[in-house]
Symmetry: C2
Subunit: 424 residues, 2 copies
């Protein structure tokens, strides 16, 4: 992409009402724009990041054998009345009346809809287990939306739901999903922890949260320095049932001391059991022709939230630092004076085409701007790899390469730069 | 994909309340399920088709230089009041009150939101032209939703909006979009016509509809058998302003006689002019530092509707006939008795892997069913290419190949089948 064909919507000033660094940077880098409280438009640069996250989630869910579906955003009240959540869910449920005065909501989650769907599809244990997922726009009418897409009202979610003939099968798929989530967050290039958690409003017996580690995180992760034990603070304190857990306490498994870290919840997996299959009377016949309520699991990932969490974890005073897998463009080509220097322009276009052919997403800054302006834009929007092309470099047959996290650039032979980037 | 790992949700009986053949077939083939009036879940098989359409639309929009964004589904009333459409749009606008009793709607279209967005981004003619698009869930509260996804309340739409310093630039992008739409519908493998149309509720001066030709279409397309003239019936009759147009009349351009065809509208492009930029006071500075209201175009494609329209155009008594580009799987492998015959199973899996490696989406029917059951499932769900593998064929070193539209199958050497399918 050439910047002249793109909508770079960077801002010079930090918007006043953005408290969180990710919210500030997403506005300043032109990833999002606010439409109304808790409602954001994804700009071209931001949407590229969102789609990369979405695609990695989709690839790993497919690889795990889950089947993608797409359920409506708008859901009839009747189903929520069946599970007794129409009133209980509270004011975060955005209720809607249609033109015939029938009650609907803009779905914040889809347990009711998917259980209803399966009432029509499942009749035998032979069809189990099954795991379906969607990547879809949801709405939660937060009383005070803030922090940008971190806690928006409208957001993009991957939610999946599995159905099982017995607990053993549920546990197996649950573990598959934990493993899949580990692969997803590893591929995204994020530092994270999977921690034991309580089950909250969704219900069920057992759950894990996936926490992206960041100093600004709202959640406290408690982990052992001598074992795999990790839990969120609520879970850790509930289990202890004595007094607040503190750093340095002995881990509940007796192995090591507890440490604290701050995290941002980006994923949550639940063993729901038969809560929904029972209340909505979903049943299938078992091997003996007897009806059973399938055991269910549900597995969520906050796709849009991941973008903000990644920025909370990866930024410096100059802007965002994208992990390669999430970067809107992996490589920025910054040519010096290309509007005057024919050789610079020619080499910039040549490298642009070669790097694209090698499979990279490349942004060529063809604005007629000073070097400093172009550098600070590329730093702000967080492009991991930067190539600077100038006349003197061409004379010496080199370009300057700098990683977003390096202080210094290095000279790379023009003939080597493509293979150099491929090898990184 | 193996059928045993998939959710084939075919139905034996035609659902009683489905009038249109595409609606019947989408339910019977298990592409969709109804949640409530005008609300449908896309099942795994249907979503594969929807995503193929979506991807072709995205690729061609990107190739045309349009920039993808994603605006919220939920829109504040204030913007609709600015353009005087909050009341005028009528009951199809699904109005919502949030927990603070503020007015919103579930957007049926995004002229207001995108014009508001550009008020914040555009300030100079140098930023023009710009063309942004999104592929997004929309809602129109139809009084009597029917025909399945053909006229659903919640639907998937590609909508784009362009902004220009003058009419000449608008006309150029408008023509680019007409050309892009021609490429999209051609790639999808549909028979269609671009026809002149009136502008309706969106407003503006000039528009073209894209009509997928099908006998069951609700719209009448009037075209000349001696020239490029084509219009929808409303436009043809308005321009004549005398008496109803009928088949055999002389074309308005004097070249040829008029013919009628039936069509389903799947795309519509508009020259909006300054209707929205004026009413919402979007302006940029021109070369002389004077404020101007940008000229706007808007361009829609009914992504989910295309799936139904394609079926209306391409079906027979046995079911759907997908064009290759839209097929959920291009190739069905149907092995005879694979659960008993080791050689059949082995060859089926080998061809499955080879064809997938060659880039095909392949469905291997590994159900323990009679041949007739497997054949009718593959016909119903419309897979274009079918390979039957049996023991006698293996002895003769052949498989049976049949196209969905052929009466007869042909024998192809096992060693040739992959290259045979690649060449088709």
């Amino acid at each position: 992409m050439l910047t002249s064909n793109f909508l770079l919507a960077t801002l010079k000033e930090t918007p006043a009402d953005a408290e969180l660094i990710s919210h500030q940077l997403m506005l300043r880098a032109g990833l999002i724009r606010k439409l109304a409280s808790g409602l954001y438009t994804w700009m071209p640069l931001g949407l590229r990041v969102l789609k990369k996250v979405e695609n990695i989630v989709r690839e790993e869910m497919n690889a795990a054998g889950a089947l993608e579906i797409l359920m409506p955003a708008v859901q009839p009240a009747e189903l929520w009345i069946e599970t007794d959540r129409w009133e209980k869910y509270g004011n975060e449920l955005l209720k809607i009346k249609d033109r015939h005065e029938r009650d609907f909501c803009f779905g914040p989650t889809h347990e009711e809809v998917v259980t209803n769907l399966m009432r029509g599809e499942l009749n035998s244990y032979k069809q189990l287990p099954i795991n379906v997922y969607q990547i879809q726009t949801k709405f939660r009418d937060e009383i005070r939306p803030r922090f940008g897409v971190m806690r928006a009202r409208e957001f993009l979610m991957k939610d999946s739901y599995s159905f099982h003939a017995d607990m053993e099968s549920l546990k197996k798929t649950y573990q598959d999903m934990v493993d899949t989530y580990m692969r997803i967050f590893t591929r995204l290039g994020l530092r994270f922890r999977a921690v034991l958690a309580d089950t909250g409003q969704i219900g069920g017996a057992f759950s894990h949260e996936f926490q992206v580690l960041a100093e600004s995180g709202e959640d406290i992760v408690v982990y052992s320095d001598g074992s795999d034990y990790a839990a969120n603070i609520e879970r850790a304190e509930n289990l202890e049932k004595t007094q607040p857990v503190k750093e340095g306490d002995t881990s509940p498994d007796g192995k090591g001391k507890l440490k604290f870290a701050r995290g941002i919840e980006v994923g949550h997996v639940f063993q729901l059991g038969d809560k929904y299959s029972k209340s909505m009377n979903l049943n299938v016949l078992d091997e003996n022709g007897k009806a059973l309520h399938p055991q269910m699991g549900c597995y969520g990932i906050g796709v849009s939230r991941i973008v903000a969490a990644a920025i909370e974890q990866n930024n410096d005073k100059n802007g965002i630092i994208w992990p390669d897998a999430m970067a809107p463009f992996q490589i920025a080509i910054v040519p010096m004076q290309m509007h005057k220097a024919y050789r610079v322009r020619e080499l910039a276009m040549k490298l642009y085409e070669e790097l694209r052919a090698a499979g990279f997403d490349v942004l060529l800054d063809d604005r007629n701007e000073r070097a400093g302006v172009m550098f600070s834009t590329m730093d702000l929007i967080g492009i991991p790899h930067r190539i600077v092309i100038g006349e003197r470099g061409i004379d010496a047959e080199i370009v300057e390469y700098k990683h977003r996290t390096s202080e210094m650039s290095e000279n790379i032979a023009i003939s080597e730069i493509v293979s150099y980037l491929k090898a990184r």
